[in-house]
């Protein structure tokens, strides 16, 4: 039973507001690119599973040519190996094409036999869809757990996990193989160690390209009219009262007049 973890390289969240429409269209971003913050939890959980159940871990990332910093980060944290999928294999495709490519990459890990758990983050900070792992589960024909806050145990090929949703929390049992998207409550991602960083910088990261992956390209949507939402110029009104009570009264008046209360 081995583990694959899906990670995406995404812009540093502090630089997201600077992304332009042209950059979003071309995919050539000026921003500093890092591992998608949600995916750090998935990487940490993969390493944790390998400690608990002595399994091998592989990080998989589909991205532009040579875009391997996120994979190196995962290696530096402690995953055993990394696999890069060249984005050109899904050029012009939709989410399901990406899912198909990632599922194909999962099947290629270690000859495709042993991966029984695929971990993913909750959402990418650039795509914001939270659908890729659902697509991967669908393409692999595996079960899917989402927003998992704890992997309790794996007993006789059955994984026991806790899942959170808006209305509560549940414990669920599912036979392997399974795709799991993790919630941030699941763990505290470690910082890469110095040794880890050195090891990662020397690691060879194989790439899968068009010659390695073949599938019909799904294209079910067309994205048009990309634009920057206008942030409404709001001129803030600061209440200047003699006392805090006076300011509070003025604010309460204003909010009652807005009819939002």
């Amino acid at each position: 039973m081995n583990v694959a973890v899906l990670i995406k390289q995404t812009p540093d969240t502090a630089e997201l507001p600077k992304v332009t429409v042209a950059e979003a269209q071309s995919g050539e971003l000026q921003a500093t690119m890092v591992i998608n913050p949600w995916d750090e939890f998935a990487v940490e959980e993969a390493i944790d599973l390998s400690d608990r159940f002595s399994c091998d871990t592989t990080a998989i990332s589909l991205g532009r040519e040579g875009e391997t910093d996120a994979l190196k980060h995962a290696l530096a944290m402690g995953v055993d190996s990394a696999l890069h999928v060249d984005e050109s294999v899904v050029e012009g495709g939709d989410e399901w094409a990406t899912a198909e490519a990632l599922a194909a990459a999962v099947r290629k890990v270690d000859g495709g036999e042993d991966v029984e758990i695929v971990l993913a983050g909750k959402m990418s900070v650039d795509g914001n869809s939270g659908v890729i792992y659902a697509g991967v589960a669908c393409k692999l024909g595996w079960d899917l757990l989402v927003n998992v806050t704890r992997i309790v145990d794996i007993v006789d090929g059955t994984l026991i996990a806790e899942q959170a949703f808006e209305g509560g929390q549940e414990t669920v049992e599912v036979p392997l193989p399974v795709v799991i998207s993790v919630a941030k409550e699941i763990n505290e991602p470690r910082y890469p160690s110095f040794m880890g960083i050195r090891k990662a910088s020397r690691a060879a990261i194989p790439t899968l390209g068009r010659e390695d992956l073949e599938f019909p390209l799904s294209r079910t949507t067309r994205w048009t009219d990309l634009n920057k939402p206008e942030t409404e110029e709001v001129q803030v009104r600061i209440f200047e009262g003699a006392s805090v009570e006076e300011k509070a009264a003025q604010l309460a008046d204003a909010l009652m007049a807005e009819r939002v209360i």
Partner: protein, 325 residues
Amino acid sequence: MAILVWIEQNDGQAVSNCWELLDKAKVLGQELGAEVAALLIGSDVDDSAQQAVAYGADHVYAAAAPHLAHFRLQPYAAIAEQAVARTDAVAFLTNASIRGGVLAATVACRRNAGIAANASDLWVEDGRLVAARTIYSGNIQARIQFESSLAVASVRPRSFPMPAPTDGSGSVDNLDVRTQEDDIRQKISDFRAADAGEVSLTDAHIIVSGGRGVAEDPQKGFELVGELASALGAALGASRAAVDAGYIPYKHQVGQTGKTVRPDLYIACGISGAIQHLAGMGNSKIIVAINKDADAPIFQRAKYGIVDDLFSAVPALTAEFRKRL
């Protein structure tokens, strides 16, 4: 031909955001010449089915069986696909909750249909459905046109106004449930419902949030913020700094790595307004900031502000509202 809307249930109760969606589907259905079908899956769906009629569904398709009491993707997605086929659906819409999101994605992927995840608007153009959504955490807006015959969207809560129920004249049909408990791989062994009575952040019309500004006395600070929230019937939010410091549990976190909210009124108390916080609440209709630093970035997005110590300003505001409400 139909627009099919999944009505999510939590503990046997319909999630109210789904009525916003159903009402929108009526408008879209008129333009597309499609009827509006509501899909209910659960163990007891009768009340929710009647509600769906009251909120305007032309047809309600109900799949009821004891083993469907809790959401499990495998049987729910199978039933949703069955309903898509039965209604000849041109669109399948869900509420963009955790479950709605994954149900929409799974049905879309299985039928090789286009998806607009976390959509914020839907309309009809040249006889086809179009969706709007944002990417790059709210920093780029896009329009999604569907090339597939089925269009699937999960729609953010509070994207459309809440309708009023009417008499309704729609009919309720039962779907036959083909999956048995034995066919379902996932087993739920324990289920704990969230605290009742707490206003959920994603549904809230008003949110009062606290940040690191309470640091001087975090316990007292969140008590004051909580009192203002309860005086307004608001949900309680927090910044990541407050969550990371352990002042309040993560489920209250608003922002990039917390919840995305769009209330009518968002009151930020002792929150600086970091980009990652704004990513979660920047679409609030009216933002109010209480902060002792007049230069805090939150004031660039706020409509109203009080520059003062939150330990005195927040209770003063609570007292004002208690007088008036």
